[in-house]
Symmetry: C2
Subunit: 225 residues, 2 copies
DNA sequence: TCAAAAGTGTTACTCTTACACCCATGT
DNA sequence: ACATGGGTGTAAGAGTAACACTTTTGA
């Protein structure tokens, strides 16, 4: 198990699937940013943002850095997704550690960079490498995780109404939820703290809630790192 | 995002947490094989089996290979656990893609290799690198996964009694389960097919069951790769 | 016939789901 | 006043957990 440094090295890269929630007239949908490749392989095609891992940079730091470079934002949630390293997935043997992230910004901020565009996460074009596959897996993980953890709040500001929170769940899960039952479940979980303020809108004002920071509950296990 | 091949390369390794079930008088417990390191760093300490990834070898293949070299066995279950790549975890920057596996063998076969020993998974000595942490995470994942998938059968032969299956669950979860309720749950899931044979032992014979291969149910999502 | 595991029955309790209904506000 | 979303009540059904009970074998 000594490292024999003869053959050409394996490239280690990090890519990140970054989700944001785009609110529209009657519903909301998931979007993610893609970068147009300017060189081979797959020149001209859209790909996940990412980059090579610097020798003195942690994997998660690389994900945060490329995320900031692409969107100008800091993630409200960031987690490792999977390490993809099959021999044929890229010329010259590259192992990609893929992360997935949530960002809070709803409207496209100063994110208008060249060669970066946001796409509907459920209707993507043909991407470079195995990136379609990776996005599918990230979507599955997001939908799964929303069921047993509090990540939905990664899309929301500090204070929000129950209807806004429910809208996030509905966008992720792709189906409507009963407002009455949703309220009871989320109130019963103890993860929300009601504030004294209300969001006044077109009809009866709705109470604003914020997160209970103390409750790290059910975030599913010890962090691996 | 071009690969600048100036600095020394990042090493890419695979390690594997291999679980087996050791049956004893009244209960069963989880064990895993460790390898005694013969060089620095951490010479003399116990570590997870693993090795460098060959340039033409898939990550999962590397896990299978090192698993076979260590135990002489083929895994009945093999899944990626996590990619550990923090800067300080090993001298010289190494990214370890860690897998976890189940093997069927109950008794120690011809596994008696030099510098390889099996340890109680819940009472390990101080291991090399961050391997204690990795094992903890693998144990958490195993316990978690047994709740919603069929991996428990990775420890059992083709045909088995419900008591044997329950014993596996009890060893993994670390607590007793009600035989009556366990039977109903597992029978109701439709994953088991009863055979016409019975295991005759010290008391009333117990029916043998086998797996329903058709039901890939609830193995939780699309395979990432 | 007795101990012990195999297997069945029953009940209480929790959680989910569906949906009826009242409340409070802007227009 | 009324439409609309905020918020409460309630009851049926599914799933869980605890435990009493019957069955079948080897010793």
């Amino acid at each position: 198990m000594t490292r024999t440094t003869s053959s050409p090295p394996i490239g280690v890269a990090v890519s990140t699937v970054i989700f944001r929630l785009r609110r529209e007239a009657d519903d909301a949908r998931l979007e993610l940013p893609l970068v147009r490749r300017t060189r081979d392989p797959h020149e001209g095609q859209w790909a996940l943002p990412g980059g090579w891992v610097d020798l003195a940079e942690n994997l998660e730091s690389t994900a945060s850095r490329t995320l900031a470079e692409t969107t100008g934002l800091a993630p409200s949630y960031l987690e490792q997704l999977y390490a993809f390293g099959d021999v044929g997935r890229s010329p010259g043997r590259v192992v990609s550690i893929v992360y997935w992230a949530l960002v809070r910004e709803d409207i496209a901020r100063a994110t208008e960079q060249h060669n970066v565009a946001w796409f509907d996460a459920t209707a993507l074009p043909a991407l470079a490498f195995d990136h379609n596959h990776i996005v599918d897996y990230a979507l599955w993980r997001l939908r799964n995780k929303v069921g047993y953890s509090r990540i939905a709040h990664g899309f929301l500001p500090d204070r929000f109404t129950l209807a806004e929170l429910r809208e996030v769940y509905e966008a992720i899960l792709g189906r409507r939820l009963d407002p009455a039952n949703f309220r009871r479940q989320v109130e019963g979980s103890g993860t929300l703290i009601p504030t004294d303020d209300f969001r006044t809108g077109s009809h009866r004002p709705a109470r604003l809630y914020r997160y209970n920071q103390d409750v790290e509950l059910a975030d599913r296990g010890p962090l691996p790192q």
